[in-house]
Amino acid sequence: MDKRLVIIGIMLLLVTLLGAQERVRYAGFCFAGNYADIPLNYPHTHALSAGEKGAPNRLERLFYSCLHANRDFRNFSLDLDQSSQSDKALAITINRESVDSESISGQTKLIYNLSYSIYILDFREFKVLQSFPFKISYIELYSQPPTAGEVQSQIYKLMEEELLASIKSKQPQIAIRQPGSLAMKVANVEISEDAVALLGPYEDKLDSYKAILANQLTETFAFGLNVTMLPYAKDYAGQKMALAFSDARVLNFSIPPASYDLDLRLDKFHKALYKETAFERVDIYGAYINLKIYDAELETVYWDQAVKFGATKQTVNGQLTDDFANYHEVLLQTIGTELTNTIRNDKKLMENKKNKKGVIVRCANF
C-alpha cells in the first residue's frame, strides 16, 4: 500500500515537472530604436498609442485582449497577470512604419509597409533571446488624399486583422530556445551598386532597405526553417537595442553573439521581355542573391551559395509600370520561398544523423 502511494506521488511529481509549461511574462507593446525619434519614425503608431496616463492605450488593449484569449505558444504560456517569477518576457515590437504615397490618375495610392517582431527578452540580464519577425504590406487607393486619422485607422485595422491573425497562426511555431541551444543572426546585408540604382525610393535610404531584407531573412529562418534567430542590429559592433514601452520606460537590451552568422548580398536585379502583344506586355523580373552561413571567429564557412528567382509580371498597354515594386516583390520571394526551398533541399545543411548534423538542424528551435 505504502509502495503504491509512493509511486502515485512520484508519478504526480513527474507529471507536474513534465507537463508544466514555462511561463513567460507579457512585457507589452513597444517601439524599437531611438526614443526621441519615435514620433518621427512611427508617427501613426505613435498617435495610436497615445492615451490617458495610467490607463492602457488602444494598442495595448488590442494586443492584450488577443493574447488573453491565446496564451499558449509552442512550449510556453503567457503570464498576462505578472504572477510568475519568470525573468523571460515576450514583447510585441514595431520596427518599421512606412506609408508612401503616389498619385495615379487623380487618385492617391498609399503603400503601407509595416514590420513587427515578437522578441523574447531576458529581463535579468537584459538580453534579447530570440526574434520572430512579422511584416505587413498593403496598398490602398483613395479618391482624395487621406487624412492622418484615416491612415491611422487603416494601420489599426491592419494590426487587428493581419498582424494578430498572423501571430495567432504562427503561435505553434513560436518556442523559447532551450539552454545551450545554438542560434543564428543576420550579421551583414550588402547591396551591389547595380542593384542600388534600381531601388527607387530606397536608393538614398539604404540602411532602411537593408533592415527590410534582414527582417525578411530572419523571418525565413525563424518560421520557414525553424531556426533560433537573434535580431538583426544595424549597429553590428554595439549590438544594443533600445525598446520604448508604452509606460514610457526605455530599456536597453544587448543582443548576444550568435553561434553562426548570416551575410546576405543582393547581387542584381534583372528584367527581360517575355511576351508582347498589341494589348499587353509580360516581363520577367529576377533577383540574384548570395547567402553565406559562417563563423567569423573560427574562420569557417558552412554554406556560401547564390540563389536566384524570377517571376512574370503582366502590364496592360498604357498602364504605368512600377519596376521597383516588382523587383522588391520578387526579391522578397527569393529571400522567402525560394531560399527556404533551396536550403530545405540542401542535404549538407539539413543532414540529421547521429554524428552528422547540418547547421540548420543544429539550430532547430524545437
Partner: protein, 327 residues
C-alpha cells in the same frame, strides 16, 4: 521503482541545471587531434573535444584584464585538470573535418564563470584581518565658459613672396567642476573589496575626510600631496593596512545614436597604498580608464557610468593586490 527514482532524479537535476546555465560565458574554439583516420575513433573524437575545451578556457582567460589573466594563468593547470567542473556544456558547431593529419571540430563551449571565480577565491591567499578603507571622489562639470581669441596673420608678397591676409578665431573653454558622489559607488566598491577578503572600514570610522579629497580634485585636478600625506598618516594611526583612493571624472552628457538615450562617460583612476611599512607604498594602480553609462535621463546615465567605472577599477585593483599578496 528504482528506475522511476533515477529518472526523477535526472529530471530534478536537469530542471536545476536550466537555472544554473544563466551564469555562463560562451566561447567558441576549435578542437583538434592528430590522427591518421579520416573518420576518428571515439577516443580521438573525445580527445579533440577535450583539446577544444582547453582552448576555450585559455581563450576565455585571454579576454580578461591582465591581472585576472595572470591569476588564471597560475590556476590554469588546476582548471585544466578538473575541466568538466568549469565547463557546463560543449556543443559541436560542425561535424568535424580531416585536414593535414589532424581531425578538427568547431565547438561552442559554455564556461561556468561563477565556478572559476570560486576557485580564484579559494586559491588566492586568505586576507585575514587586512583592514582597508577607501575614498572615491567624483566630479562633474558645473559650468563652461567660452573665451574667444583672434589671431591675425598678414604677409606681403612680391615677385618672390606670397601674401597671407586674414584672421583665425580661436576658442578656449574654462571649465569649473562640482563634486558628485552617489551612495551607490560606496556600496558597490565595499562589496568588491569585501568579496576579495578585506575588512572594509568606512572612511568616517577612521576620521578620513572625503570632502578634502573632493575639494582638491575639483580645484586642483588632482589630490594634493598634503591631503594624501594627511590621509595616510591618519589611516596608519588608526591601524589600517591599506588605503584605496580613486578619482572619477564625469564627462558631459550626449545622446547615444543607437539607443537615443543619454550617454555619459566616466574617467577613472585609482591606487592602493600599503601602510604596513615605514613609508606608505603605492602597491597597485589603475587607469585612467574610460567607461560609459546609458540612461533615460542624465542622472541615471551618470550613476550607471560611475558604478561601471568604480566597479571595473576596484576589480582591477583587487586582482593586482591579490597577486602582490600571494606569498
Amino acid at each position: 521503482m528504482r528506475k522511476f527514482l533515477i529518472i526523477l532524479g535526472l529530471l530534478l537535476i536537469l530542471s536545476a541545471g536550466t537555472e544554473q546555465l544563466d551564469a555562463l560565458v560562451k566561447v567558441k574554439a576549435k578542437g583538434s587531434v592528430a590522427t591518421k583516420n579520416k573518420k576518428p575513433k571515439t577516443e580521438e573524437r573525445q580527445q579533440a573535444i577535450l583539446n577544444g575545451q582547453q582552448q576555450a578556457l585559455k581563450k576565455y582567460a585571454s579576454g580578461l584584464d591582465s591581472q585576472r589573466l595572470s591569476i588564471l594563468n597560475e590556476l590554469m593547470p588546476e582548471l585544466l585538470k578538473d575541466i568538466e567542473k568549469y565547463i557546463l556544456d560543449t556543443t559541436p558547431l560542425n561535424d568535424g573535418e580531416y585536414q593535414n593529419g589532424n581531425w578538427e571540430i568547431n565547438l561552442e563551449v559554455s564556461i561556468d564563470d561563477a565556478q572559476i571565480e570560486q576557485l580564484v577565491r579559494q586559491k588566492t591567499p586568505k586576507l585575514e584581518e587586512h583592514f582597508l578603507s577607501f575614498v572615491y571622489v567624483a566630479r562633474e562639470v558645473a559650468s563652461v565658459e567660452f573665451h574667444e581669441g583672434t589671431v591675425s596673420i598678414q604677409a606681403d608678397t612680391d615677385r618672390d613672396h606670397f601674401k597671407l591676409d586674414g584672421s583665425i578665431v580661436m576658442n578656449s573653454e574654462g571649465i569649473s567642476y562640482r563634486s558628485y558622489n552617489p551612495a551607490e559607488i560606496d556600496s558597490r566598491v565595499t562589496e568588491i573589496f569585501n568579496k576579495a577578503g578585506f575588512d572594509v572600514v568606512p572612511a568616517f570610522e577612521v576620521n578620513l575626510t572625503p570632502e578634502q579629497f573632493a575639494y582638491d580634485f575639483i580645484t586642483l585636478d588632482e589630490i594634493s600631496n598634503s591631503t594624501q600625506k594627511e590621509a595616510t598618516d591618519i589611516a596608519r594611526d588608526q591601524g589600517l593596512e591599506f588605503l584605496a583612493l580613486g578619482t572619477l571624472d564625469i564627462g558631459r552628457e550626449e545622446i547615444d545614436p543607437v539607443t537615443g538615450q543619454y550617454k555619459i562617460y566616466a574617467k577613472v583612476g585609482g591606487y592602493i597604498m600599503d601602510l604596513r611599512k615605514k613609508f606608505a607604498v603605492k602597491i597597485c594602480s589603475v587607469g585612467p580608464l574610460q567607461y560609459s553609462g546609458l540612461g533615460p535621463n542624465p542622472t541615471v546615465a551618470k550613476t550607471n557610468a560611475l558604478i561601471e567605472a568604480a566597479t571595473k577599477a576596484s576589480q582591477d585593483l583587487v586582482d593586482q593586490i591579490r597577486v602582490k599578496l600571494t606569498p
